[in-house]
Amino acid sequence: MRDWTRQKTERAARMDAAAPFADGKVVAADDATDMLRRVIKSGDRVCLEGDNQKQADFLASCLAQVDPADIHDLHIVQSGLVLPEHLDLFRLGIAKKLDFSYSGPQSGAIARALDQGKIELGAIHTYIELFARYYIDLTPNVALIAGVCADRNGNLYTGPNTEDTPTIVEATAYKSGIVVAQVNKIVDEVPRVDIPGDQIDFVVEAPRPFYVEPLFTRDPGAVTDSQILMAMIALKGIYAEYRPKRLNHGIGFATAAIELLLPTYGEKLGLRGEVATHWALNPHPTLIPAIESGWVEQIHCFGSEVGMDRYMSARPDVYFTGKDGTLRSNRLMCQNAGLYACDMFIGSTLQIDLAGNSSTVTPDRIAGFGGAPNMGSDAHGRRHVSDAWLKAGREAAGDSGPLVRGRKLVVQMVETFGEGMKPAFVEELDSLALARKLNMELAPVMIFGDDVTHIVTEEGIANLLLCRNADDVEQAIRGVAGYTPVGLARDKAKVEALRQRGVIRRPEDLGVDPMEASRNLLAARSIRDLVTWSDGLYSPPSKFRNW
């Protein structure tokens, strides 16, 4: 007869083995590595919480200290692989297989490790895709997570960076897994309970607070005239045209420029209250002037941002906050909101090919996607309407009959030449060369061309919704590719015909004067201006302070 409780039996055995290192649920920092040796076994699937921002860095360094002879072949399933310790696990032979979403600062190291065969790559996922797999075929045996504080019963307060934690813990705790939390402090009473204690097996007070990376702070002082021109083009040609009220912005400078133009140029266009009122968005400091000017109804956040906590606590009508007063973020919920409840995604990319496929992969870097493929895709399960969604759908459908569904606006903003005058428009994405080199079955593409609706460059807008065939798409893209080789190779007659059809719109077609594109249009021209706009509530990290 089959034993239906093997997982519970296994869990009990591991808990018993670890018990000598714990006082109830509390484990001393010095005993953390010994405790991990008892709860983790070779071949386990382990989630070592590495979110976009919050990192279980102390537990990561503990895990890197185990003997690979005892624990090896771990399968790491976590969204962010951003710390050197994460790579150490593979270099030392403790971990072997990897399924992840985002690597940021480790993107070069991951590419090298893959090339050397140190990592067996499962897939590069989007966030909710990986989270979904936690519940189907990548359920963690052990989750090592991070929070601000916990009580002795394991009740956990994550702080404003709740991010992935509830999703990871739910999958692990309810499938007989073991959950270990590192916290900055063990307290008598937590400010609010983000994770109930009965889902947490062990808590460790880490010797120093967990690491958080400021990822979404864009210094207005670094916004260029070209980015301001592109922002003007987007506001006039897309925001004023489609009136998307619910949206997500990427984290680049082009969308930061839009945020900073809302209270100035956007106001002049009469768009306040008409567009950009409801957001799925990280706490971008550059949105503060628009919030203070009454543009924004509400914002749900994937995670928090360093320096924004006091500001958000003071604006609970805008942000989601707990009864303790601090932000509650949740990456799964917010990604889902971005997928199903937003009418537009607008963000930057590094490379676009002639079919509109867009990628941030370069030959020696695998940065992953994070949430962009979900934010930047049309949800085919959507069944509620909005004016922006229907207008986009009608443009795409042309005269093809009465049963027309809407389309999400997916807008890619890109300067025709990137860093070091590297053309952003290419005949073939670098990710294809990378896929060939590493024998990947699927080339890492951030947003596929059939999801992209508009491309905005300093040369104007290419509206792919109005393209009727692959040749239209190619010439529309060449038409806004400026002086790059792809742009110079355009068919001038076809591009002019596309312009007559409104597929390509130049700044002058939109009534945008490039001569007006100056930094004087920015609602804030420095980080210090943002602090002033926030009434002193925003406290930027020191690397952004120059006063």
């Binding site: 260029t224 300067e415 025709t416 400026g482 002086y483 110079l488 594109a517």
Partner: protein, 104 residues
């Protein structure tokens, strides 16, 4: 560092009375343009000194489009470029001729 000169004919002389103008700065990703009304008739001369090598074809395309757009006959442009992108070059050239046109 690369230096070259582009000569072209505009459709018409640039209107206005300004003799000389200067726009931009030689900061990274930017450029400085000195405009002088020193050529005869519809002739245009563009002297380029640029920090980026190998982009002469792009400069020629940008300058040709600019001359077709604004017809700055009679003007000599002296450019010191520090890696500006084409749209910044176009913007500075347009700013320069506007300044020259509107000067008393």
């Amino acid at each position: 560092m690369e230096t070259f000169t582009i000569r072209a004919q505009a459709r018409a002389p640039l209107p206005g009375a300004g003799r000389q103008a200067i726009v931009g700065v030689v900061a990274s990703g930017n450029l400085e343009v000195l405009l002088e009304r020193s050529e005869t008739g519809d002739a245009v001369v563009v002297d380029v000194t640029t920090s980026a090598r190998g982009f002469r074809a792009v400069w020629e395309a940008v300058v040709a489009d600019f001359i077709a757009r604004s017809s700055p006959g009679g003007v000599r442009f002296s450019i010191h470029d520090n890696g500006a992108r084409p749209d910044t070059v176009t913007l500075r050239l347009l700013q320069g001729v506007k300044l020259l046109e509107t000067q008393p």
